[in-house]
């Protein structure tokens, strides 16, 4: 493996498939810059998540403390027929992007409004939630259909007159799902994609050297 081959390699070096050492180094720098930017966004979203959840827990504790009859707002009150009002849409197959969608607000915003989009072709009720029947969430984002007629706010499980602290807790947790959770998942996926790219570039660079 010594001299002759080595010399040839060195003489040819600084170009692998038309990419010089400088190009690759610059590319690696760009990738690292982008990666660090994502890392910064990720840590900020983490802090936001911690703040929102902490506020949510505080409000929930306050609601439990001030509740009449010493009832605890917990699993005893869950509706056993609950259906998800907040769902996630997986956008783009290559770099997976998650986007949350709220059925509750969309139903409230457009009561009776018929969207021009695809009509609901699923015949049976709850077919979307059947793990065998439901299709894998992939492909491009589709807009939420407005088939929701009556929507139950989960806070109603706990009664009609709930303490304001419980509403506040609901607000904090909703904000968490729409904001930091979505961001964290997307940033994490973007970082994974970049990590692969960084490793590839590093490998190319090591071949050039």
């Amino acid at each position: 493996m010594a001299t002759a081959d080595g010399a040839i390699r060195i003489s040819e070096s600084h170009t692998v498939k038309g990419q010089s050492h400088k190009d690759l180094a610059d590319r690696l720098d760009e990738l690292f810059e982008e990666y660090l930017g994502l890392l910064n966004d990720y840590t900020e979203a983490r802090e936001q998540l911690s703040r929102d959840l902490s506020n949510g827990f505080m409000s929930l504790a306050q609601a439990n403390f001030t509740s009449p009859n010493r009832t605890r707002y917990g699993q005893d009150y869950y509706d056993e027929r609950m259906q998800a009002l907040k769902t996630v849409e997986v956008e783009s197959e290559a770099a997976v992007q998650f986007k949350t969608a709220t059925l509750l607000s969309s139903a409230m915003e457009s009561k009776g409004d018929e969207s021009a989009g695809k009509s609901d072709s699923s015949g049976g009720e709850d077919a979307g939630r059947d793990p065998k029947k439901s299709s894998k969430p992939e492909g491009h984002a589709t807009s939420i259909k407005k088939e929701a007629k009556t929507v139950t706010d989960p806070i109603r499980w706990f009664g009609v007159l709930v303490p304001p602290a419980l509403r506040s807790a609901q607000g904090h947790f909703t904000a968490t799902v729409d904001g930091p959770i979505q961001q964290l998942v997307n940033k994490n996926k973007a970082m994974e994609v970049l990590e692969i790219e960084i490793r590839r570039t590093k490998k190319k660079l090591s071949k050039v050297l």
Partner: protein, 130 residues
Amino acid sequence: MAGRAPIPNKSSALISMIADEDTVTGFLLAGVGNVDLRRKTNYLIVDSKTTVKAIEDAFKEFTTKEDIAIVLISQYVANMIRFLVDSYNKPVPAILEIPSKDHPYDPTHDSVLSRVKYLFSAESVASGRR
């Protein structure tokens, strides 16, 4: 007997949770809870009586179900099944560790940060040169 809940869109997926009661209650209030036709919930409440086996089973179930896009798991619960969480590498559903009421977020156990650490470590640089 409140109103009937809407049928979620077929292309939409769920967020599932493995966490303590307060965390689950909070997220259910946000509207992520779901019970399917087989009366299976998309959450597991972890308390002092919950076994590690039950958590493992729930994790495996949620990560193999096709209608789940994100699995939220309390960090302290994830620590109980760390081997499973770390060996998971599918793009969907995504796993996200969240802090809980009694266990604040610990960055040293964050899988993303440990990946970052590895990427910038000397070992990674050395392996890149091989």
